[in-house]
Symmetry: C2
Subunit: 281 residues, 2 copies
């Protein structure tokens, strides 16, 4: 059975699921109760990350529309971290076979070089979607855009402080992030496989982007720990069908408790966000 990012996503949307759990499994924040040890007593990095992710995935997979591991938290640990990411991707396909996986890698290189990232994300890691930087333009990302089965999710208006430095610069009366949204919507999306990252921390920009991109999926970080309001986010981001949203929470869910109830706490926070979203859409 061939997987198709957009179809998997739409299935979950049709059932009212819009939460994305960010597997930003920072080793230092993993509750001590799941720490695994090597025979010499040292921390077993790969095993600890995988054990933590397994518990989070088992506790949350029926409530959400996507998982989003961020590569930075895995690359931080060299080969052990990459191995943990590979095992996590395998677990996701086993435990949650219908939940699409967005690899939050924020890559972007020239055309032929991107084939390496494509092999990594889609062949080795078996992700269903990837996040990319727009700066080098459509032609550079064409090898990604050609993957009709995958989600190609481009940074548009990010949630971080200082994102406006370039993204909100005015180009002939229109901010750069709007130009990016417009180009992707009208020029890049021939395979109907594009999405955009727009932060919950800027609901005005979220609303502006939604008006430009019809039903394109918006990946929305920034609720919870970063302070974005769920109500404002949903009102600004939903499309004409009350869908189109992938609302991510990472720390707010996976590190909701540092104790042995961490998985139940993660489920509780996921469920809370799930209901809050549905209250406002």
């Amino acid at each position: 059975m061939s997987r198709h990012f957009r179809k998997l996503l739409e299935h979950h949307w049709s059932e009212g699921r819009f939460v994305c759990v960010g597997l930003d499994s920072e080793l230092e924040k993993i509750p001590s109760v799941v720490q695994q040890r090597n025979s010499d007593g040292s921390l077993a990095i790969k095993e600890t990350i995988v054990a933590f992710n397994r518990a989070i995935i088992e506790a949350t997979h029926d409530l959400i529309c996507a998982y989003k591991p961020n590569t930075a938290f895995y690359e931080a640990h060299g080969l052990a971290g990459i191995a943990a990411l590979e095992e996590t991707m395998g677990l996701l396909h086993t435990i949650a076979p219908n939940v699409p996986i967005i690899l939050d890698a924020k890559r972007g290189d020239i055309g032929n070089t991107n084939n390496g990232y494509i092999a990594s994300a889609f062949d080795h890691l078996k992700a269903d979607a990837i996040t990319l930087h727009p700066y080098m333009g459509k032609k550079s990302l064409q090898p990604f855009l050609d993957r009709t089965d995958k989600g190609i999710i481009i940074l548009c208006r990010t949630s971080n402080e200082g994102a406006d430095e370039f993204q909100n610069l005015s180009i002939e009366g229109e901010e750069l992030y709007k130009k990016v949204a417009r180009q992707i919507s009208t020029q890049w999306n021939h395979n109907n496989n594009c999405g955009l990252v727009v932060g919950a921390t800027c609901p005005n920009e979220l609303r502006e982007v939604r008006t430009l991109v019809d039903t394109m999926p918006l990946l929305i970080p920034g609720v919870g720990a970063q302070g974005g309001s769920v109500e404002e986010t949903v009102r600004a981001a939903k499309d004409s069908h009350g869908a189109g949203m992938i609302i991510n929470s990472s720390r707010g869910i996976i590190f909701a408790s540092k104790e042995k109830d961490f998985a139940e706490a993660a489920r509780r926070e996921t469920d809370k966000l799930h209901h809050l979203i549905n209250q406002f859409r």
Copy 2:
């Protein structure tokens, strides 16, 4: 002895060395003469890439100012590729201990997440510099900018076809790439550790950037295989001391020959580029 990217670079510049060898060691292009085999006869991926890189490094290290492995070509092979990159970084520190290593990773995430990429690039891989996307702004990249010993090299005007889609958009009479150059030069470079990527395929833009950034290092891909002229590049990119350039060639050097003379051919092409640069600066 602590390493310092800018000082290592300036040492090589003072000796007239400006060539950067791009270790874009695409497995499929590695000459069959260096292919290593597993006991079952299959291609030994890690060993083949490392053997190839070793030969290239041994043949070129005294002629150049930097090496630049691009992570995409290594990530393409999963764990075996990452292991090949780690071993290559070790070889570089052993065979060419004074040549700075630029990890061409084109990363960029929000602040605290970037700490994972920093651990990967600087702690695990022991790179001296990294390439980054500017799109998320200075505040997102602050953890990189705080690393005074490292080179923080930001994409400004890239060499690929279609790079102008966003980079040449006009913002109040000035193109985005110039705005990026100006911001980095005046706002980001407090630690004198920034550099910019500007392609040899656009010498006019290269000249414009140089006028904006004084002696900031410019990492210049696009001579050779991508068609940039060395003469135009050097005339446009050199600073007031005839330096400031890291002129990269990847395929044109490392895949100069597919035969068993590939390492000598790489040296010959490196030497040719080295002399051409010095003829025009």
